[in-house]
């Protein structure tokens, strides 16, 4: 040990004891523990699923907004509950995945983002396609949306290719989710759950765009480069 510290001061042990809080507070396990945790958690959800399947349809529809992504999921609730409805489990998963994209993926992009020129150009085709869904999404501020899309287009032009691809991939997931929901709505136009999911997916798309817009500012304010929130 003296080889490492030939001039160790006499009060070193006291100094070390006083400095315990400088010890690393985090240490990662050697393996990823999440798969096993997820299996146990999902097991519990599935065990509860039959009970939910017996719930009257009207109550299921009332519970639907909390099962999708968006502000309505913030309503108070006594604890975790199963959310996989027997007829649309994969769609709910897809909608939940969109929420994750919004939280994680878009912010990671923000870290990579550079401030580019605000050159104007044609709107991305994918975004215009989404805009065609407006009649089914309710009243929207058209000018605000157009400004957002044009601004995003400028951002995309300025982005490095990997970041641009990530943005477009995220948008693609959201849009595929919306198309799936729309297709289901075509078969069941009166389904309130599907309408709520479509509305919230649309909000997620808007949030993704807004996040991309704000990411440059946010990154510089936060001063972090690890992509975490």
């Amino acid at each position: 040990m003296s080889e490492h510290r030939p001039e160790a001061p006499k009060d070193l042990p006291h100094r070390r004891v006083r400095s315990l809080r400088e010890l690393p507070q985090e240490r990662m396990p050697e393996r990823d523990l999440w798969p096993q945790i997820e299996a146990r958690v999902t097991e519990r959800l599935q065990a509860r699923a039959p009970r939910q399947a017996q719930t009257p349809p009207a109550e299921r529809l009332q519970a639907a907004p909390a099962a999708t992504v968006g502000p309505s999921a913030l309503a108070p609730h006594p604890g975790p509950r199963p959310r996989r409805l027997p007829w649309s489990g994969w769609r709910l998963q897809l909608a939940a995945a969109v929420g994750l994209l919004a939280i994680g993926g878009a912010l990671t992009l923000g870290v990579w983002m550079t401030h580019g020129s605000a050159a104007r150009g044609p709107l991305p085709r994918e975004l215009l396609a989404i805009d065609e869904m407006r009649p089914q999404l309710g009243p929207l501020d058209g000018r605000q949306r157009e400004a957002l899309l044009r601004s995003l287009n400028a951002r995309l032009e300025a982005l490095p290719a990997p970041s641009r691809q990530k943005v477009l991939a995220d948008l693609d997931v959201i849009q595929r989710s919306m198309r799936d929901i729309q297709a289901a709505l075509g078969r069941d136009p009166g389904n309130a759950l599907l309408r709520a999911m479509l509305q919230e997916s649309y909000q997620d798309e808007q949030q993704l765009i807004a996040t991309v817009q704000e990411a440059g500012k946010w990154t510089s304010e936060a001063g972090t480069g690890d992509g975490s929130i």
Partner: protein, 193 residues
């Protein structure tokens, strides 16, 4: 402003949002909480158990118990602190279990040693010292070690530590005093060596 944009602008407000979504049954939100907190939970478990394999089990149990108890979590509280409380409970329960494997802890790798410790930030001295201090902490008697880890390393108050360990606050103070004295003694011997 959307909930997500609000979360971004305030940098730390995402946690209650994720907790609420997890309470609503969103497994993905819970995974995000796991990813953010697993390092702190595992580090505590490995310091208390001195056995990486046992610490992994305790970490898993902690998150599974947390999922089950999310409905009782006070959103205004710090989620990380709540997880630490659960983790301490899990470790103590395991110690009391007749099938506890902590007896083999003495032969286990030293917490904080190896690559992970070498890569950790340590401003006082070298990474070698981190391993030495962790080793010295690991050799403390259980009760003293628990208090020293929770109070000395993680900065919990005596009242909080007493609550987590289920002991009186006076006991907690005495254990901390004892732990510091023992630790100084061990480090003294190492420095003199």
């Amino acid at each position: 402003m959307s909930w997500m944009a609000a979360a971004h602008s305030q940098h730390v407000e995402w946690e209650p949002v994720l907790v609420q979504r997890a309470r609503d049954g969103d497994v993905h939100a819970f995974e995000r909480l796991y990813r953010e907190n697993v390092g702190r939970v595992y580090a505590l478990c490995v310091r208390l158990t001195r056995n990486p394999a046992t610490a992994e089990d305790c970490t898993q149990d902690t998150f599974i118990r947390a999922w089950r108890a999310l409905g009782r979590f006070e959103i205004r509280s710090a989620f990380g602190t709540w997880l630490h409380r659960i983790a301490v409970n899990v470790v103590l329960s395991r110690r009391r279990s007749p099938t506890s494997t902590e007896a083999s802890a003495a032969a286990a790798p030293v917490p904080g040693s190896g690559r992970a410790a070498a890569e950790a930030e340590w401003t006082l001295d070298t990474p070698v010292e981190v391993a030495e201090i962790e080793q010295a902490i690991g050799e403390l008697p259980e009760g003293a070690r628990d208090v020293l880890v929770l109070s000395g390393i993680y900065g919990y108050s005596h009242a909080e530590v007493a609550g987590m360990l289920g002991v009186a606050e006076g006991t907690c103070k005495a254990q901390l005093h004892r732990a510091r004295a023992l630790l100084r003694g061990r480090l003294d011997r190492e420095t003199a060596a």
